[in-house]
């Protein structure tokens, strides 16, 4: 920029609050956050919101179309599936699985990734080599095939899905953290801390980590959308959450058999996936724009 802008005193608030204000100005991102919030509320308050029991079968309502189509019923707004279960209620309960798995996997993976990435980037040497090799090997497998293999070995179940997804997901934050750490550890304020007598722990946690969190948070949110798709894919393949528990992936999979006669069975859970993933992606892009100085201004 110009040399004039260097001299004016910045407003008297913290960097974080300024970033947050930038983010709030981004309308699209704010809309996405609201969509995400709606989904979160759905997961928490599912029993209160859902009009029906998601597992209640009713063969008389088998493949009942959505309300606005002939033969529909306003009590079952989005229609019913092959076993006569209410699709809306199942989507609401299914959000629990998707969001739970998305959040848990990302938190787990980010935690592990930060530890490994910080160690690799800060200590370099053999630590970096070992972690780097593990990362390379894990990256070598296609993600989905890897997860399918693991699920086949461990058997289905919620905990196993989380493990299968987190097992490889940590590689992404790890690489981000390592790269940022390599850059930040060379900065003078890190050297200053060492000159003052600070140890490795202090430098990694207090000096480096706070300065690299923005890109990590941004990457993690983007990846959360990915994890949700992966979970849906596993469920679609029958390796995910087991019936009768509702999951968006398995719902899409169930509807496949009737796709010509009853399109709504697959379409509405599919739309839910698209909407949530889109909302997370847009929000994370807004986050990136607001928090990563390389993208702002």
């Amino acid at each position: 920029m110009t040399d004039a802008t260097l001299t004016h005193t910045p407003p008297a608030d913290s960097l974080f609050r300024r970033n947050l204000r930038d983010f709030r100005r981004n309308r699209l991102a704010m809309a996405s956050v609201i969509v995400m919030l709606i989904f979160v509320i759905m997961t928490v308050a599912a029993p209160l919101i859902a009009p029906h029991d998601p597992n209640q079968t009713d063969l008389f309502r088998r493949l009942q179309p959505p309300a606005w189509i002939d033969g529909g019923d306003w009590r079952f707004v989005l229609g019913c599936d092959g076993l006569g279960r209410d699709i809306l209620s199942r989507i609401i309960y299914g959000a629990r699985i998707s969001i739970f798995i998305g959040v848990v996997v990302i938190v787990l993976a980010t935690g592990v990734g930060i530890l490994a990435g910080l160690a690799a980037g800060y200590f370099r040497g053999w630590v970096d080599v070992v972690i780097g090799r593990v990362v390379d090997i894990l990256l070598g497998f296609p993600y989905l095939i890897f997860a399918i293999g693991l699920m086949a070995m461990m058997g289905p179940g919620l905990v196993n899905i989380v493990l299968a997804l987190a097992y490889k997901e940590w590689v992404i934050p790890c690489r981000v953290v390592r790269g940022e750490t390599l850059a930040v550890r060379e900065l003078e304020y890190v050297e200053a801390a060492r000159a003052l007598g600070a140890g490795s722990g202090h430098i990694m946690w207090r000096e480096i980590l706070p300065n690299i969190m923005s890109p990590v948070i941004v990457v993690s949110t983007i990846r959360m959308a990915n994890v949700i798709i992966l979970e849906a894919s596993l469920s679609f393949l029958g390796l995910g959450v087991q019936p009768p528990t509702a999951s968006w992936g398995s719902m899409v999979s169930d509807g496949r058999a009737f796709i010509l006669e009853a399109w709504w069975v697959s379409t509405f859970p599919g739309l839910a996936i698209v909407l949530l993933v889109l909302a997370i992606n847009v929000a994370s892009q807004g986050l990136r724009d607001a928090f990563d100085p390389r993208f702002s201004e």
């Binding site: 001299t7 005193t9 910045p10 008297a12 913290s14 960097l15 900065l187 003078e188 304020y189 050297e191 200053a192 801390a193 060492r194 000159a195 003052l196 007598g197 600070a198 140890g199 202090h202 000096e207 706070p210 300065n211």
Partner: protein
Amino acid sequence: MSLLQVTNLSKQYEGRLSLAQRLTGGRKTVVRAVSDVSLHVNKGEVLGLIGESGCGKSTLGRAILRLHEPTEGKVEFDGTDVTALSPPALKAIRRRMQIIFQDPYASLNPRRTVAEIVGLPLALHGIASGEEARAITTQVLKRVGLQPDQIDRYPHQFSGGQRQRIGIARALVSNPEFIVCDEPVSALDVSIQAQIIALLLELKQELGLTYLFISHDISVIGYLSDRVAVMYLGEIVETGPVASVLDNPRHPYTQSLLSAVPEIGAKRAKGRVRLQGDLPSPLNPPSGCKFHTRCPLAIPICQTLVPLTQAVGAEHHAACHRLHEGLNLLEGAQ
């Protein structure tokens, strides 16, 4: 009495080899950033270390503090061999040896408040905590010319000169005896530069500090140093009392460095030497005297034989083969 004694200090960096290079028998590239440097700093004085970019002056400053581990040689501080200290002992001595950095932007953690940045040494060394630490921090900030109500602000809310004051406060808070000033005013505007220089000199008087002042600016070094050391490609080529070195430079590099500085006001009394060419790469330094590739006085022996450091006056030393001829580029030119 010398507070700091550096003996034959060297620092080299080895380039990393890729697997392919290792398989094909490639040799490691070695950069000798500092080679075989000896110097001392007396208690209460300012030793000005001058040289151009890439000459190794910053590396030397960091090697003395063991921020970069020296490859060879010894650093003694107040009788203690710093190079042999264990990590806890090193941490303890860092209370007494501090550093001020060049870049007032990169040297402060953007996510910490001034109170946290300046108070860090107090916490690390268990000097003070809580309210007491805050009181000490406020006091030091006041001393370097900042307002006490600015203590909870973040670095980006300050100008370059103010940030440099924060950096100085951080170095001072643990009550050190010796400070490496690594180009502390080079990034600042002229009027701010003068404020910081004045502050550093005041603090030195008041607190009885000893400085190793690193700079590429001869005017600054000439103004505030007691003694000067001139560095070229990792070696010290001339050292001595400031008046003696500046008025009667003996090494041809010092002579050309002095003549290159643009002067204000009075017309240049002496002639002007123009060095030809660029600084050679430290990856592949010249043989013999490292300055021979650019030296207007070079003779064949300079290409093969490393010149020894000789006394040329009271405490004034230089390393050049042609010292005894008493040549001065500045008088010969014009």
